[in-house]
């Protein structure tokens, strides 16, 4: 991040007017506010203090110490100290988080120092950038909404610093910025939809990757649902063989077999297994992969994985890996005993390797679990004492019911499918016995809950079981597949009949998760029957609604990606838009937009409301016209009223009353109270008129000789009524 130098000499260029200070202060605060949540407290405090100092300097320009404290030199010094402190705090400086912290402080410094219009311009631009950096941490709907006032402040600040004669009006800059934003909205939306999303980072700062999301070597309930809210790419795959169907896209990652009642972690024997990796190429040694009794080979698939750096050792392969990764750069990798592919060094750069897998949901092992070369791993099976007792009891019941392991596992899957379990990103979980609570109380969980509960039940029933984490699914993007963090998944592996067999309880609850991905599995409108089983208070309903709004936001705004973009083009009839197409669409839309804005009724002058009597007068004329009485060009309301009264003596009263009210409103400017009452009366009279059709039928065709109405008659009538 470039260090933007603070101008040292005071007030170059045109100096800033005091009237702009509230705007700039508001902008800085709105841009900084979201960061208070994510920054170290002292950075937030320092930033806020500098802003307060800056405002104080404008309010008390005679205070020398304030001026001294906020001049260019002292603030440059402050920025330099900030660099040192931030480096001390984070341990590094060139990275995303420290740079955001520095930018945060820089904006404060710039505000405190701003004296000229040039300073203010730079400040606004820095604030805009700072505003965008909050999305590193949160792209939720709230984050989006919170941005809107800040964007208004950006426009307002530009408006006021431009003004030669500053106004104190608050609404004028806001109204004009709001109008401009609304006018620009179509262009913004078009660009958002059409602008090509470039895959992957253009660069990556050395420490950024440490903060990126990804699977870890332990899994607490809730960690994967957190992960699946990230649209970041985990890896990309090019298939040499036909793309497997979605149900077999299980990308095997860390295997977790140790459970303390809350957290799953890798086997204690991790260190051991790192020495004890399989010294074979599975492809050539088929005893692991084939059922010894069967003769047919399972389908083989070949592909190339481009793995994003994640700072860990493991590599991903489709279940079950049949080879060691082949890598041009010569990266050493091996297959651990529990079939994890492990790289010799942490993956700190994008890594590309070729891989072969058997598309098979099991692998055979000569060694029963729990014993690796004679050593016993007590954690692969067996209950953990004291925790999740209800689950254990439940498992014992199942065991009694189903003596066969396969039957028991299937019964458990059926249980998940038939009981009202609910697949959601936001499970409500707390307490010491999370599996119990999930399984029997909340019944709401994400994939890790199902996998964990399944595994615990299996173990409690005496069947060796463990959790495999990884990714499930992937999105085809033209020729290649993208697997994202949001595809993160957890499933169970159970040892039955000399093989580790894959059981995915999530698929039992939400089959679409496996068939069509997480987007399909979490419907926006959650089915009511499920909801009805729970507490149906409005609060919960509101919460669910909010969840679904958030989810839509996530799906359509945050996760708007190349795939969705291509779908859109396809729907528009351009399956493969060339850059020329895109350019033409943008140019055409921009031309249309300009035309509408320049020729249309987007007047800068606010529309003046017409007085009510004008509209009522027109209504009256329309009524008479439809009834067959045209206003003559020389006629005023009075003459017209007389003619109408002659034509329809039956309605003489209402005609008189309407005419007199119109005349009074138009010509005698009554006081507001009387005026309002008169308007109400007039409206009521007009509303209560019979339809013009009836009037036409009741027209008095005889040339009657009744006395013509005079003005005094009308006035008399008016005074009677009001």
């Amino acid at each position: 991040m470039a260090l933007i130098s603070l101008s040292v000499s005071p007030a170059k260029g045109e100096s800033l007017s005091v009237a702009t200070v509230p705007w700039l202060a508001a902008l800085v605060m709105l841009a900084q506010m979201p960061h208070y949540l994510y920054l170290p407290w002292w950075v937030s405090l320092a930033g806020a203090t500098l802003v307060v100092l800056g405002v104080a300097r404008w309010r008390h320009p005679d205070m020398r110490w304030l001026t001294l404290l906020t001049n260019g030199w002292s603030l440059t010094l402050a920025a330099a100290i900030a660099v040192v402190l931030i480096k001390a705090h984070y341990g590094y400086f060139i990275g995303r988080d420290p740079c955001v912290a520095f930018l945060f402080l820089l904006v404060s410094c710039k505000f405190a120092e701003s004296r000229s219009i040039k300073d203010a311009t730079l400040l606004i631009c820095l604030s805009a950038f700072l505003l965008s950096t909050r999305y590193f941490y949160s792209q939720s709907l709230i984050s989006g909404i919170v941005t809107v006032p800040a964007v208004l402040a950006i426009g307002g600040a530009f408006y006021v610093i431009r003004q030669k004669k500053p106004t104190s009006s608050l609404t004028e800059p806001l109204a004009i910025t709001g109008k401009l934003l609304l006018q620009g909205l179509p262009i913004a939306a078009l660009l958002f939809v059409i602008f090509p999303r470039l895959p992957g980072p253009l660069w990556s700062l050395p420490h950024d990757s440490a903060a990126t999301t990804g699977l870890s070597d332990s899994m607490t309930l809730g960690s994967i649902s957190e992960l699946s809210q990230s649209g970041a790419v985990a890896f990309r795959v090019d298939f040499d063989t036909p793309v497997p169907n979605a149900q077999s896209l299980y990308w095997r990652g860390p295997v977790l077999s140790q459970f303390d009642g809350r957290t799953w972690s890798q086997n204690n024997l991790q260190s051991l297994s790192s020495q004890q990796s399989l010294n074979f190429l599975p492809k050539s040694d088929k005893r692991y992969l084939l059922n010894p009794d069967a003769s047919a080979t399972p389908p083989v698939t070949q592909y190339t994985v481009t793995l994003e750096p994640h700072q860990r050792h493991w590599l991903f392969a489709l279940d079950v890996p049949a080879s060691l990764p082949v890598n041009d750069a010569g990266t050493q990798a091996r297959l651990s005993h529990d079939f994890q592919l492990l790289s010799a060094t942490p993956v700190s750069d994008t890594l590309r390797y070729q891989q072969t897998s058997f598309l098979q949901d099991r692998y055979y092992d000569t060694q029963p679990p729990g014993r690796v070369d004679g050593q016993v791993s007590g954690q692969v099976s067996g209950p953990v004492s004291g925790k999740n007792q209800r689950t254990h009891q439940f498992a014992r019941q199942l065991r009694q019911q189903y003596p066969d392991d396969t039957d028991l596992a299937n019964a458990m899957l059926r249980w998940f499918a038939e009981e009202p379990y609910f697949y959601t990103l936001r499970p409500t979980l707390a307490g010491d016995n999370p599996v119990d609570e999930f399984l029997f109380d909340s019944l709401r969980g994400f994939c890790e809950h199902y996998a964990a509960a399944f595994t615990v039940v299996m173990r409690a029933a005496g069947i060796p079981a463990r959790i495999v984490t990884g990714y499930q699914g992937g999105e085809m993007n033209g020729e290649y597949m993208i697997v994202r963090q949001s595809d993160a998944h957890a499933w169970a592996e159970v040892w039955i009949d000399n093989a580790w067999r894959r059981y995915d309880p999530t698929a039992a609850v939400a089959p679409s998760r496996v068939e069509a991905g997480i987007g399909a599995a979490l419907p926006s409108d959650e089915p009511l029957p499920t909801l009805a089983r729970f507490d149906t208070s409005w609060l919960r309903a509101a919460h669910l609604r909010w969840d679904s709004v958030n989810y839509q936001w996530q799906q359509w705004v945050v996760d708007f990606n190349t795939g969705k973009q291509q779908n859109l083009w396809r729907k528009l009839g351009f399956p493969n838009p060339s850059p020329l197409h895109v350019a033409l669409v943008v140019i055409g839309a921009a031309a249309l937009w300009s035309l509408l804005l320049l020729r249309g009724q987007w007047s800068w002058r606010p529309l003046r409301r017409r007085p009510p009597e004008d509209r009522l007068w027109e209504r009256w004329l329309r009524h008479l016209q439809l009834s067959g009485l045209e206003k003559l060009s020389h006629e005023g309301p009075q003459d017209l009223g007389q003619r109408a009264a002659k034509a329809w003596p039956v309605h003489q009263n209402s005609i008189l009353s309407i005419t007199s009210a119109l005349v009074t409103l138009r010509y005698s400017s009554p006081i507001p109270v009387a005026r309002n009452r008169l308007v109400t009366t007039l409206k009521r009279d007009l509303n209560s008129l019979p339809s013009p059709k009836e009037w036409r039928q009741s027209t008095n065709h005889r040339d009657n000789n009744k006395a013509t109405l005079t003005l005094s008659d009308l006035n008399g009538h008016y005074t009677d009524r009001v």
Binding site: S132, Y135, R162, Q183, F192, S603
Partner: protein, 355 residues
């Protein structure tokens, strides 16, 4: 040979008209002139470029980190930027430069060009319209329907004819991100007359009426109102304030001037270039003539002004009169006209103001 020269000349004229269209280098515009799309330029200001740079940084960060909301923010601000372009254009389009009057000044004092701006369509409002030319600047909001007067003040130092030159009419309303401007080049000039000599000698009397000069001119201000009242006539620019018919003014019939038959008609002065032979410097001679003209007008003495072969008749009437001498009864020419003659003395090309 002939063809090639023709071609060349046509190319030259093409080139010239192209340049004229782009930059309005020649004073060809006739007022009133509405500022329309064919002469409006619009480009980002420096602030706009800075804002664009910030947008680019946001975009790059969004691409790098795959931030959808970053894209959204970037494009929202891009939309704002684009809408501001149209707003700036709309603010500028339809401003009409109604007129700019020729200006007069004495050397050393500023020339004041009065520019009148109006809106072309009655419902538009043009905010913060700036008008600037060479060494002059003014700014105002131009409201619908009404005429907005802008005063362009340009400092002067030497005598001469200063063309107003090309005016730039510009605005960066509403956000200061874009600057729209248009060039208008109308043949408007400012006449900078010589500074009157401080204590000039007596002007010589006309040779045709060799009457002796009245002693001194101490009674100058009173002269015009002395004598027998002859009647009133509508006020004309240049009439002495002492002769204004206040009664008529108070009755609301407008500005009139009382006319008097002079008790004794003052002698006609014959001012000419040759009479200033005593001085060698052109400017000094013009200064003397200026002082004499002032004196003649103050005392309401008729005079003739003959600037000889160097004169350039500069006022609009110049085309009609081929005679370089002005028949100087004060009713015939105004002091302004005479001084303009002096200002334009020796200048052959009025549009560029050079000799």
């Amino acid at each position: 040979m002939n063809a090639t020269t023709q071609q060349q000349s046509s190319r030259q004229s093409n080139n010239r008209s192209f340049k004229q269209r782009l930059f309005r280098t020649e004073a060809n515009d006739t007022l009133p002139l509405p500022v329309t799309h064919d002469r409006i330029y619009i480009l980002p200001r420096r602030r706009g470029w800075a804002f664009l740079a910030a947008l680019l940084i946001i975009l790059v960060a969004s691409i790098n980190y795959g931030l959808s909301l970053g894209y959204a923010l970037c494009f929202l601000l891009t939309g704002l930027f684009a809408a501001t372009l149209l707003a700036t254009y709309r603010n500028m389009a339809g401003v009409m430069l109604h007129s700019v009057a020729d200006a007069d000044a004495v050397a050393g004092e500023p020339l004041l060009f009065d520019a009148v701006l109006t809106g072309k369509n009655p419902h538009s409002e043009h905010i913060d319209i700036e008008l600037h030319g060479e060494r002059c600047y003014a700014r105002a909001d131009v409201h619908a329907g009404s005429r907005t007067k802008l005063e362009l003040l340009r400092p002067t130092d030497t005598r001469g004819v200063q063309p107003l030159g090309r005016l730039t009419i510009e605005s960066d309303y509403p956000l200061g991100l874009w600057r729209s401007w248009a060039y208008i080049h109308a043949p408007v000039v400012g006449y900078v007359s010589p500074q009157p000599e401080n204590q000039p000698p007596e002007p010589p009397a006309a040779s045709s009426t060799p009457e002796p000069q009245p002693d001194g001119l101490t009674d100058t201000t009173a002269t015009t109102t002395h004598g027998e009242f002859a009647g009133i006539r509508p006020y004309r620019a240049g009439d002495s304030t002492a002769a204004i018919a206040w009664k008529q003014l108070a009755r609301g019939t407008g500005l009139h001037t009382r006319e008097f038959h002079p008790e004794h008609s003052p002698d006609r002065l014959s001012l000419s270039w040759e009479q200033t032979n005593a001085l060698s410097d052109t400017e000094a001679r013009l200064s003397r003539l200026a002082a004499w003209i002032h004196m003649a007008h103050r005392t309401a003495r008729p005079y003739t002004l003959d600037l000889g072969p160097y004169a350039h008749l500069s006022t609009n009437a110049s085309d009609k009169e081929s005679n370089t001498a002005i028949d100087g009864t004060s009713e015939e020419i105004t002091e302004q006209q005479a001084l303009r003659q002096l200002a334009a003395f020796g200048i052959t090309d009025l549009s560029s103001g050079t000799a």
